[in-house]
């Protein structure tokens, strides 16, 4: 059987974070990566590509991460969005859950956190 490839959208305004996240995820499964540097681009890419999973930063230009999650969930209620942000304040955690995010990863992430996310939302039942 061919190895399953997952389509993942990474939204972060830092090219470094996107690169590191791609490297870290590539060690866990086979991925096709899509990237966005701001919230509006993330929404547009999501609508066009319908990725299996989204990693979303919160503090990003144009439209912030919470707004982007809301709009993605309005478009596709089954969208799986994981917040990966350095600012996991109580307020942001509440807002993220309310907006429909399925997980919150505080930066700097541990490989194990990413592995758990991949197992939980992508490699189901493995």
């Amino acid at each position: 059987m061919a190895k399953e490839t997952f389509k993942v959208l990474i939204c972060d305004d830092s090219i470094l974070v996107r690169k590191k996240l791609k490297e870290a995820l590539s060690a866990l499964a086979s991925f096709e990566f899509l990237e966005a540097g701001d919230g509006q681009t993330a929404i547009d890419v999501y609508k066009k590509e319908r990725p299996d999973l989204v990693f979303m930063d919160l503090v990003i230009p144009v439209k912030d991460g919470i707004t982007a999650v809301k709009e993605i969930k309005e478009f596709d209620n089954d969208a799986l969005v994981v917040i990966a942000s350095s600012s996991g304040t109580q307020e942001n955690l509440k807002k993220a859950i309310k907006a429909g995010a399925v997980e919150f990863i505080q930066k700097p992430w541990e490989q194990e956190q990413l592995s758990n996310v991949v197992k939980k939302f992508l490699k189901k039942g493995e």
Partner: protein, 290 residues
């Protein structure tokens, strides 16, 4: 970090020259800490008493600790404690200076006592400072004159020091704070924090230090201030501020921040400049209170 502070103190007080300090710091890793220095540092023995024990050792074939107990200068408990105490950097530095004859044990005793007095450091605080407890060091040595939020800014700098040590350079040292009317930045990553407390924060450096800093955080060799270098320093600031906001949030203070940006050759007005010395150069954190 404390080794640097104590070394600079000895330098400023004229106990040694910059060259002697530099050479001594180089030799620290090979230094073997002796009981005399430990006993004087702990305040259990005077330098004079240790000299007496040293002299006695020439006559009797006994260990330093054994003689010190026999002569009534140390108790069994104190000896046990000294033997198991940690090899603090400033003690190794002092040992090298004594071994090289740059400082006598009496001068070390005088310096360590002056040091505690000058900074009004209690024994308990000294214990924490010796063990490089960053919070204690920042709290004691860093001042934000005239700030509305001195405690908060100290916390901010203590966290910054810990993040520098964790991600950039194990030997990072926070140097001085200056309050400035205006400062000309070379390369600077900037991020605004808002809410009940409003701050603008920057990490600023010259071109070389900026590139080195970026390379360390990105874990790859960068050679110019390109997109990756800007992203790297910007992301470090973002990470640092994010953790700071999370800590405050856990105390019930909710703040927000804006996306980070990087600028070249900008002027910043009315600010605190905190310098950090790293192995590859100097990096400044700038804070404006609004």
């Amino acid at each position: 970090m404390f080794t640097q502070y104590f070394g600079n103190y000895l330098l400023n007080k004229g106990y040694l020259t910059a060259e002697q300090l530099h050479d001594a710091l180089e030799e620290i890793k090979d230094a073997r800490l002796k009981l005399g220095v430990l006993a004087v540092n702990a305040g259990y023995m005077t330098a004079e008493q240790t000299e007496e024990v040293n002299e006695a050792q020439k006559k009797y074939d006994k260990r330093f600790g054994e003689l010190a107990i026999e002569m009534g200068y140390l108790t069994e408990e104190q000896l046990k404690e000294l033997l198991s105490s940690q090899k603090y950097g400033h003690l190794l530095l002092s040992q090298v200076l004594v071994d090289k004859g740059i400082m006598t044990l009496s001068e070390f005793e005088k310096a360590i006592n002056e040091y505690k007095r000058d900074y009004s450091i209690s024994d308990k605080e000294f214990e924490a400072i010796q063990s490089d407890d960053v919070n204690e060091i920042i709290n004691k040595f860093i001042k934000f004159e005239g700030s509305k939020n001195e405690k908060l800014l100290k916390d901010y700098i203590a966290l910054f020091a810990r993040n520098l040590i964790r991600f950039i350079d194990r030997d990072a040292v926070i140097k001085e704070v200056s309050k400035l009317e205006v400062y000309d930045c070379q390369f600077a990553a900037k991020q605004d924090i808002s809410g009940a407390i409003v701050l603008t924060t920057y990490i600023e450096a010259d071109e070389n230090a900026f590139i080195q800093f970026a390379s360390k955080y990105a874990e790859e060799e960068l050679s110019s201030v390109d997109e990756m270098a800007e992203a790297s320093v910007g992301e470090f600031l973002n990470l640092h501020n994010g953790i700071f906001l999370v800590n405050l949030s856990n105390q019930g203070i909710e703040l927000k921040m804006t996306p980070q940006e990087v600028f070249k050759d900008i002027k910043v007005e009315k600010l605190f400049k905190v310098s950090a010395e790293l192995s590859f150069g100097c990096v400044n954190i700038l804070i404006q209170e609004h």
